[in-house]
Amino acid sequence: MKLNRHLPVLAVALTALLPAVAGAQTLRWSSQGDIATMDPYAHTESFTSNVQHHVYDPLVRRNRELKIEPALATSWSIVAPDRWRFVLRRGVVFHDGSPFSADDVVASVERLLDPTARARGNLANVVKAEKVDDFTVDFVLKGPYPLLLNDLSGIFIMSKRWMEANNALKPGNITTGTTTYASTNANGTGPFKLESYRPDQATIMTANDKWWDKPEHNLTRIEFRPIKSDATRVAALLSGEIDMMAPAPLQDLARISAAPGFKVIEEPSLRLIFLGLNFRPELQGQPGVPNPLLKQPVRQALWHAIDLDTLHRRVMRGKSRSVATIVAPPVPGYSAELDKPVGFEPDKAKKMLADAGYPNGFKVKLDCSNDRYINDEQTCVAVAAMWTRIGVQVDLKTESRATYFPKVDRGETDIYMLGWATLPPMDGFSALSALITTRKDGFGGNNPNGYSNPAIDELTRKAAVELDEPKRLAQMVEAFKIARNDVAFLPLHQQPVAWAMKNAVDVPQFADEYVRLWFARMK
């Protein structure tokens, strides 16, 4: 009798399920590493953010053109230079069914700004979020700040009720030994719901049929299975165990695209690779020896001696783009005029060295990572060979990222390789403030070797608070121009991003290397 009463309900439920089952599309994809955690505020890795973005929504997000568009916030206005007002979307529900409101935004920001939150630097200019009414929130800032939307596009909103119920109002903290429910569970408003998360095995998500946005994807299920070994990952794709991998190893691209049923898609990424220089009085590699790199013509000569075309063709297998600046084309602050390479002129370079007082060249150390950027070690080997031809003796040392970056950070290098993608803000200001501004007052975080130009420092401080966008862009371009004339860096190339997948998978590729499966379609 009980069964009878439930039968009609069951039948309705089944018919509702049937079309979904008929068109069930599971996308199995892989990458080289797993996410660090499901907790959005307990990490600083862009790949982890990327995967979490399928479960969680930010207030504003990036569209197909990487432009910022409304997500959980529908509109915003600047009510005072240090106060932005956001109107929230109505009718949004979290995966557990609870409604989304201003309380969730306030609780999320509070959690992120907790002194123990690993990611609190991602919202460094915000003091607090204040609820105005159920669907209006004010962000109070430390001062005028043009990049708030860029920052918010990476801040995922969590549910206050869920955090309270699961004792997760505070982020995990390694120093006090706090761990949180949120590091292995998730309750967002995003296009997919987290079904299970098994570290290094699989993160399974199912489509959220109550998503506030109209889905452009046709997936019912996503299985993310990290595979660390390149060879195994390629094998898993070719054997049909996964449908897609991002990124795909450069050395295997030809083989994958030659296999029937598979394709490779490529695009230049935002990450530019360049060589940084020592601007201190003495060489680090040879204490006591005056630093030849302090002379602008010497730096210019080193630049002229790099054969970018050979790097592009031989080392990067034709997949990179040679550059002459330190921000990529889609990023605000980019200027095509500054991106014209100086030209490979070894004879001119030799002459410039001689004129600068180094007719027989000099000895210098070149430090590089060997596991951080695409073909980083080979690039440095090639550059060292090129410099040898103009008489510069290069003492090349390559090492793992774990020891390399701390060394760069301490300024213990003369010439060193660095890549910069301006992420997460995706704005030239990131490169401006971190790379070429004097290390002081929180600026110059990645300018460890003393490059300092007062004109740039002034422009940086202006651009930091400039709310007029054309003005701000002009300030940044001006600063990059000064840096280029100074030869503050030796730009090399723009890294490619390559993904490989079955022909049946259709997914747009993005320069920020994010995998956005809410745009994916499967045949």
Partner: protein, 323 residues
Amino acid sequence: MAGLLLSRLLQAALVMIAVTAVAFAMFRFVGDPVRAMAREDSTPQERAELAQALGLDQPVPVQYARFVGRVARGDFGISYRNQRPVTTLIAERLPATLELVFAATLLALGLGIPLGVMCAIRPDGAAARLVQSISLIGISTPTFVTGIALILFFAVTLRWLPSFGRGDIVDLGFWTTGYLTGSGLRSLVLPSITLALYQLTLIMRLVRSEMIDALSSDYIRFARARGLPKSRIHYVLALRNALMPVITVTGLQIGSLVAFAIVTETVFQWPGMGLLFIQAVSFVDIPVMAAYLMFVGALFVVLNTAVDLVYAIVDPRLRKAKG
């Protein structure tokens, strides 16, 4: 027996102290975890604060003393990367590694002993010569090459077996097992062969040489003269004596298998402790690295003790001496 156990426990503590002390002395050459944890465009102040919060601004001996103090209270700390307790992370990975090592050991013993006996009984037979030369390949090929070759052949070309992962697993609460599902067992095949290959050839060669020794000894000749059945001579009288060093080697090799599993687990994306350790190294996740090294150190002590105990069971003379 109790005395033996007590002295082994003391040894274990000493080994652990030594292992972690060496590990801590080396950690600073592995790199700086702060750089891995902080945002790419973090300010120098942010990084300094983080280093201070983690106690990394202290000299290494102080860091080590704090670590020992915490471990003595049973607190292994929290992973820098995952921000979850290290004990939870290891407990999650332990079943995968142990099931793989168990399967590999079974395979190595199950094939190695009979093949070794065969080679010893008919050292000049065609089969023995073939096995001998194949075993040379097994002992000299690096694990990752074997693994990739197996993947290419069985997963990509034939598509018989999965190339990575553990397949469907059953969660028993305290343990996750792949032994109970079809896909779990299928996933086990390639990694366990890869892991077992070296040990298999080692055991086979060991059994062979020990058996040849045993077969030429006086008591076997007397047994033959008495007209005992061949199978009894080979498998009971000779093999039992030949097995002593095999037990030692197998016992100690289980420890190396857990350690060697790092390579196999990386090739096959086997979600065990080796994979966890490799990731910890690339992230300079000091708590995870320290706990893993302690675990491996403890494992070797336990295995050594177990081997000594098993000796007593197999060899009655030792039992009498102790009793």
